[in-house]
């Protein structure tokens, strides 16, 4: 009798989930993005009617940085269609970070960014120079308010604050979305503005200055403005896509204040270093296309493609594919993911400066993130529905693992004395994440 009652209750709960999902789908293509469709409708209690999405991520690079990142997102959908969303992210990073200098056959000694000799560190011959004292904590809070303006128009505004001991950022954005074609098509347009303040440890280096002279100034700023035009389209009962064009422009101090470039002679000996010098503005443009296709009742797939270019000479292509396979009456799923990425180098990227070349005031940076490389990501996620908490019908626990690998495409001629050294070691990283939402 008890078993029969539990079975009937489980069926009723499942039917309620299905009806709620179907109702939300009637909101149209706009509901395909945003938190609305997953939110519990408002009824009673303080947090009873908020949906909570949380995750704890651990990121580990081979021999370099490791990070722990807890994230919490809470959201609420009101009866009149308004939606509120708040999130908090905390990052704690420790480990060793490449300082940009080139691997050498001799030992190399560097000062910490603060310039205190007590914090000097030495890199052994044949090893990639990394600052072993890297440590940073970041807290970011954000919120979004979406409100229907008419039956087919929705306005959304958001803000985000991010704070580190040497960096502070404020971002605001606003977008408007319009549904038509029986809500099968949604056009959206948004703008964003970002204000960043940099207060590097020991001061911001003068771009291109001699590392030994320690020419530093006070705090710096950079600002960015972006726009995004998008269309979301339901093609068939099983196929939905989104296409976005975006552009953003940043101005100000765009250097990494902790990155230096080695100066070497023709024999491959390091004779000095200078701070990197990037242009003080950058414009990026991108095209992004994402698809969702249902391949039957249990399986769906997502494919996204992105092309990006900027006026620093970087071009990149990204393709990401995932497969979502549900089973056990959709109470569990697994999701394998594969991502492929490649980028060309910025026009001023150089792994080192040859001292035999004429002095130049041109831009230069050895930051490997501006070099030419390709990267692969392999991921797997498992999620399990669990009984809900309090008045909630269900919760979901998930675990996700990703492996990320960067491989450099080297085209720079290297002095014979440096050949045989691993000058471009690439990067290998693992991400492990557990998630819980209710």
């Amino acid at each position: 009798m008890q078993l029969e009652l539990e079975t009937r209750l489980a069926k009723a709960a499942h039917m309620r989930r299905q009806l709620m999902a179907a109702s939300c789908a009637l909101l149209g293509a706009a509901a395909a993005r945003g938190q609305e469709a997953r939110m519990a409708p408002a009824d009673s209690g303080l947090l009873e009617d908020w949906s909570v999405d949380s995750a704890l991520a651990y990121y580990h690079e081979d021999g370099r940085i490791q990070a722990i990142e807890p994230v919490v997102n809470i959201a609420k959908l009101f009866a009149d269609g308004q939606a509120l969303n708040f999130n908090v992210t905390f990052d704690s990073l420790t480990g060793s970070s490449p300082n940009g200098a080139l691997t050498s056959r001799s030992a190399q000694t560097f000062a910490s960014p603060s310039g205190k000799s007590a914090h000097a560190y030495t890199t052994a011959p044949g090893q990639l120079p990394v600052d072993p004292n890297y440590q940073d904590d970041r807290i970011a809070v954000g919120g979004t308010w979406a409100l229907p303006v008419t039956r087919v128009d929705q306005l959304s505004v958001g803000a985000k604050l991010s704070d580190e001991h040497d960096f502070f950022s404020v971002t605001v954005d606003a977008s408007i979305a319009h549904d038509f074609n029986e809500k099968n098509t949604t056009l959206s347009f948004g703008i964003s503005e970002e204000f960043d303040s940099l207060q590097p440890i020991g001061g911001a280096p003068v771009p291109g200055s001699d590392y030994a002279l320690f020419e530093k100034t006070g705090h710096k700023t950079k600002n960015g403005v972006g726009a995004l035009l998008g269309v979301t389209q339901v093609i068939t009962r099983n196929w939905l896509f989104e296409f976005n064009l975006s552009v953003d422009r940043f101005k100000g101090y765009l250097n990494d204040p902790y990155k230096i470039t080695s100066i070497i002679d023709s024999a491959g000996n390091t004779t000095g270093y200078e701070f990197e010098s990037r242009p003080d503005q950058r414009t990026r443009k991108s095209a992004y296309w994402e698809n969702r296709v249902a391949l039957g009742g249990q399986i769906s797939t997502g494919l996204s493609l992105r092309y990006m270019r900027d006026d620093w000479g970087v071009r990149s292509d990204t393709a990401q594919l995932h497969l979502h396979w549900s089973f056990s009456n959709r109470d569990r799923y697994v999701e394998p993911t594969f991502r492929w990425y490649r980028q060309t180098a910025a026009s001023f990227y150089t792994p080192f400066i040859l001292s035999t070349e004429a002095p130049t005031t041109a831009y230069e940076a050895s930051d490997s993130r501006l070099g030419a490389f390709h990267a692969l990501t392999y991921g797997l996620k498992y999620a399990q529905k669990l009984p809900g908490l309090g008045g909630r019908e269900e919760s979901e626990f998930s675990v996700r693992v990703e492996y990320y690998q960067q491989t450099f495409n080297v085209r720079t001629a290297t002095p014979a004395a440096l050949q045989g050294l691993d000058l471009y070691p690439g990067l290998k990283a693992v991400l492990v994440q557990v998630g819980w939402r209710f």
């Binding site: 990142e69 040497d166 950022s169 975006s246 994402e290 990425y341």
Partner: protein, 75 residues
Amino acid sequence: MNFKQICIFCLLSSTAIAGGCVSLGVKPWQRDVMAREDMRLDANPLDAAIDDHMYFSKEASSGGRSFAGGGCGCN
């Protein structure tokens, strides 16, 4: 293919899609598959945010899915 060509291609495609909108899409009662959570474009927003943060700090590209700004001193 440069960015201008891609934009022209996309514009033409969008025009074709918009022109064909009358025949694209489904009726409200045919949205059962679209109602599935796995068919949402942001089915896992925290996963996407954590991934985007990782890629933002290790690559020269960001954004596309949404605004490109990072709000992070890591790049």
